[in-house]
Amino acid sequence: MVLNIGCAARPGKAGDNKTGSWRVFKPVFNQELCKKCGLCALLCPEGCVTVNDEEEYIPDYDYCKGCGLCAEECPADGAIDMVQEEK
C-alpha cells in the first residue's frame, strides 16, 4: 500500500522546495541607491532577502519567486528593479 494509514506524513522542509524556478521577473538590487532600511528583508514572503557583513541586502535567487513586493515597498527610488528573467 502506497497510502499511509490515516493520511499521516513525515514533516517536510520548505528549503527542499526551490521556488526560484517559478519566477518571471527578478528583483535586481542596486547597492549604491540602497538606504539600508531593511524593509525588503522584513517584507519578503519567502524570507529570502538576507543582509551580509558589508550591510548589503541580497536576495537568494534559489527561492525568490519574483513577487516584486520588495521593489514595490522599497522607499529608495531605483534601489530595486524588477527585470524580466532570461530563461
Partner: protein, 386 residues
Amino acid sequence: MLKITEGSHAVAEAVKFCRPEVIAAYPITPQTHIVEALAEMVANCELDSEYICVESEFSALSACLGASAAGSRVYSATSSQGLALMFEVCFNVAGMRLPVVMSIANRSLGAPLSIWNDQQDSISLRDSGWMQVYAEDNQEATDLHFIAYKVAEDHDILLPAFVCFDGFILSHTYEPVDVPAQEEVDAYLPSFKPYQRLDAADPISMGMYATPDYYMEFRYEISRAMERAKEALKRAGREFDEEFGRDYSAPVEGYRLEDADTAIVALGSICGTVKDAIDEMRGSGRKVGLLKIRSFRPFPDKEILKALDDVSTVAVLDKNVSLGSGAGGALGLEVKDALYGSGIEVKDYITGLGGRDVRKRDIANITDLAESGKGDMYYGLREEVL
C-alpha cells in the same frame, strides 16, 4: 458474579477495567451517570486516567482525537445533540484511523426538544466511518465495550467504535449484570499499542490533506477496514465467549427463527420486548421470530440474507427515520437492500421515536400489519392530534 446495578454504572465500571488513559466528555442526559461515575473513580484514585473537563462535546472528542493520536487509549460518551456537535470530529477521528471508543446512550434529536430514547443520534452518523454496535440489555452494553476496544485497536482495523445502548431504557435501569474482574479483562484486552503516534522526537502529521488524486483511495481504505472488521468482530466475540462464557460472535442473532414465516428485525433494547411478544404469539400458534442486529456498522448484509432465507415476510422496527425517504428508517432501507431480489416481502415500521413506549401488543400489531402486507409506515401515530 451477577450484581444488581444501574446500566450506566455497569458501563462505567467496564470502561474502568479497560484502563483508558484519557477520558474527555461533556455531560448530557441520559449519558450523564456514566461520566459522573468515571469522574468520581478518577478523583478517588480508583482509576489512573487523565479526565479532561471540556466546555462542549466538540472539545471532548477533539481532546480524545489528540490524546489518541498521541498514543493513549481514550474514552468518551455522549447522547443526542452532544453527538451532533461532534459530527465534524467524528469524521476526523475515523479518517485518521484512531481507535477511539465512545458509549452512546441513545436519545432523540431536537427540535422539538426531547430527552427521551430513540436511535436517531448514532444512526445519523452511519456514514462517518465509526463501527456501531447495539446492546439489547445492560450485560451486553457492558461486554461490548471490551470487544469494541479489541477490534478498534487491531492494526488491521484501526477504526473508532460507538457502543450504543438505549438511553433511560437501559442507561437508567437497575438489573443484574456480571461485570468481569480487572484480571479477567486484562487477560482479554491487551494494553494499547498504537499503530503510529505523535512524538516530538520523531514527528509526523496525521490527517494531512489529500488531493483529488488520493482522497477517494483514503475513503476506500476505510471501507476495506470496515469489511475486515466483520471478521474481527466475530473473532473478538468468540474470544470473549472463551474467556467469559457469553457469546457475541454473531453480528446478527436469531430468536425462534428456525421455522418462522415472519421475522421481526430490530436493533437495541426493543429486542427484549420483541422476544417476550414472540413467546406469546408462538403460544397462540403463530410462526414468528426475531433477527436481532448487533452490528449496524459494519452492516452484516450477507448474514441477514442467510438468516432470513426461509421466511416470507420481514417487519423491520426502526427507532429512527430518514426524513424524506417516505416512511423509511435506516435499518429498514438497508435490510431491503440486503434482501433485494430474494422475493422476501420487507416492511418498515417507524416506532418508539422520542421515547414513545413500545409494548408487546404493539409488536403483535406490527406482525399483523406485516402479514397483511401493510407497512412502510409510522406505527402508533396519535391520529387525533394530527
